[in-house]
Assembly symmetry: C2
Homo-oligomer: 355 residues x 2
């Protein structure tokens, strides 16, 4: 390395996740030498603040990766598919938050609480960061899996609009402004659809104000949406359970940031609520909020902007052996995206420093 | 009977469900002679419109049931517990939409699509209408159960605020008005909580604007909320499957009216998506909205104010045999409450007329 501390590049620094990434990099223990900000040519020259210093954004190019040790990518799939290998060919370890490489057998898919050792085998020089929906529950499920052996997952999601990038919150704020003050709306079929701005301009296929929409990601085979298949495939890969049984229904809800999940999890071993709570409380990045008699349970509005994975409403399933029902919340831009990417990058930095 | 057509009493005519009931009674085939409107003494004298005629509300009293053949109750549990037996003792058949009698072995719990024959055995003169969450999916599940034998249900709900009565929508409209126009809200823990009116005045334990709340009903044993236990116990009773395995997580969402449910249903027999769709399309009160490639799936905003049970996102579970995942929507005030009550009352009216 050219300095004592490794050089980090943030590709997609001006996006929704990139913005949160700069906040996170400014608040975590500082393991980085230079932090280089990279974005599309139209954002080049823009100045952003990271670690309390202004840094000028440079345009994405092969040369932008020269001297970079770790390059984080928070960009669309097709941009990652093209540019993460370029970064790797220039000697950087690419940590990619897109869906481009997650299921590639030669790319580890990493949640530091679950499989930190997986970063070591990266023949393509690329490490993938999971999808935000999967990530929002992984720290909690990983802790329980280590103790009880996860066998089956039935999940229903309550997904925030910022999972779509900045266009998601912009659209929901517009819709809320359009319906606010109308104290009869939401009572006749189609009245919300008429009241909100034209859906042609929306990143969502239906209104979200006073609504929930059972469609997240793109439609894949046999009626499944991509987000639902990601929950299945990525959970299996991260936890190292190739035959994990998973059914997920992913639903977009009118929440700005923080994904919630109703989780029905079946284990190999018997598990009590008290034992599960103890396991989760011992997990460093998990917070148990579970005293419903006192109104204590996780909700997006109360956990947004923070780092942990929150678990509440932990119940023993009444009719299913070795099974817990619970409600899990995690900030989809932080642990669900930028934070986990930063944590993976820090693992790589530690590995590079120890060489 | 004293006239050609039976006399109906609507108890709780001024409430959230009662208001919808009067609309429904005004639009259905008219099987009733007199329709008498009954409410608490403070609403007595008020004039409401039903079947295009003004009817004066009379105060709840034993005498109010004189000459009544069928008395519908849309009132709180404790009012039903006291007054449904009074109506029955005066010769009326009480059709009760509260939770007071649903699990009483001497009170049938009826969904006309599932167990219409159950109305015949009513030793207490009382018939119960199910909870709105259970009801919102029963017509669809009943149709599938008849063909394939339902064995297990894992359900996550997306419940509308009008399930709480008129206070629910009033509160959500207030909260939306308080947050509208703020294009940074929902991004920091607690910011929504600070922006909305004091929660002391809310029927909900947490904000609902830009939020979801995993608490519905009252807290019961072992961390389960009453709505979750009702889904289990009432589904078993309605479908006549005493050992049906059920886990439900009930979550309140910022929707005015129409409950949605992510349903993971396992059957005794193998079932394909095509076969299930055919069964559901043949069910007279079920509408299949399932062409996600064209943006066709049920959402609350598109089905509110209508009668059917809507089913979409029908998928064969990838890892669970004989299992379907689907998304179900139903108007919680109509099929989920008033409509089903009216349908039960009509079954009773037909039985009385045939004597």
């Amino acid at each position: 390395m050219s300095s004592d501390k490794p050089t980090l590049a943030v590709v997609g620094a001006t996006g929704a996740v990139g913005t949160v990434m700069l906040e996170i990099l400014s608040s975590r223990p500082d393991v980085w030498g230079e932090i280089r900000l990279i974005a599309s040519p139209r954002s080049a020259g823009k100045k952003l603040v990271v670690r309390e210093r202004e840094v000028e954004v440079v345009a994405l190019s092969p040369e932008a990766f020269d001297g970079v040790d770790v390059a984080m990518f928070d960009v669309p799939d097709e941009v990652s598919a093209q540019w993460a290998p370029v970064a790797a060919s220039r000697g950087a370890v690419a940590v990619d938050n897109s869906g481009a490489f997650r299921m590639d057998p030669d790319v580890p898919l990493v949640v530091p609480e679950c499989n930190p050792e997986a970063i070591a085998r990266r023949p393509k020089g690329i490490i993938a960061n999971p999808n935000c929906t999967t990530l929002s529950m992984m720290a909690a499920l990983g802790a329980l899996h280590r103790e009880y052996g996860l066998r089956e997952l039935v999940v229903a999601s309550y997904q925030a609009v910022s999972g779509m990038g900045v266009a998601g919150p912009e659209r929901l704020y517009d819709e809320i402004a359009a319906v606010a003050g109308n104290r009869a709306i939401g009572t006749v079929a189609g009245d919300v659809r008429k009241a909100v701005p034209d859906l042609v301009d929306s990143p969502f296929p239906a209104p979200l104000a006073f609504n929930v929409v059972p469609a997240a990601g793109s439609l894949k085979e046999d009626g499944w949406f991509s987000e639902e298949l990601k929950v299945r495939n990525e959970s299996r890969k991260i936890l190292g359970i190739p035959d994990l049984k998973v059914s997920a229904t992913c639903v977009r809800v009118p929440v700005i940031t923080t994904h919630s999940l109703a989780v029905h999890a079946t284990f190999d071993e018997p598990v009590t609520v008290a034992a599960a709570r103890a396991v989760l409380e011992a997990a460093p990045t998990v917070v148990v909020l579970d005293d419903p008699a006192k109104g204590v349970f996780p909700t997006p509005a109360d956990v947004v902007g923070t780092d942990p994975t929150y678990v509440g409403r932990i119940r023993q399933a009444l009719d299913f052996p070795n099974t817990l029902d619970m409600f899990v919340c995690g900030d989809n831009l932080r642990k669900g995206a930028a934070l986990n990417t930063a944590e993976i990058a820090e693992l790589v930095a530690a590995e590079l420093s120890s060489r």
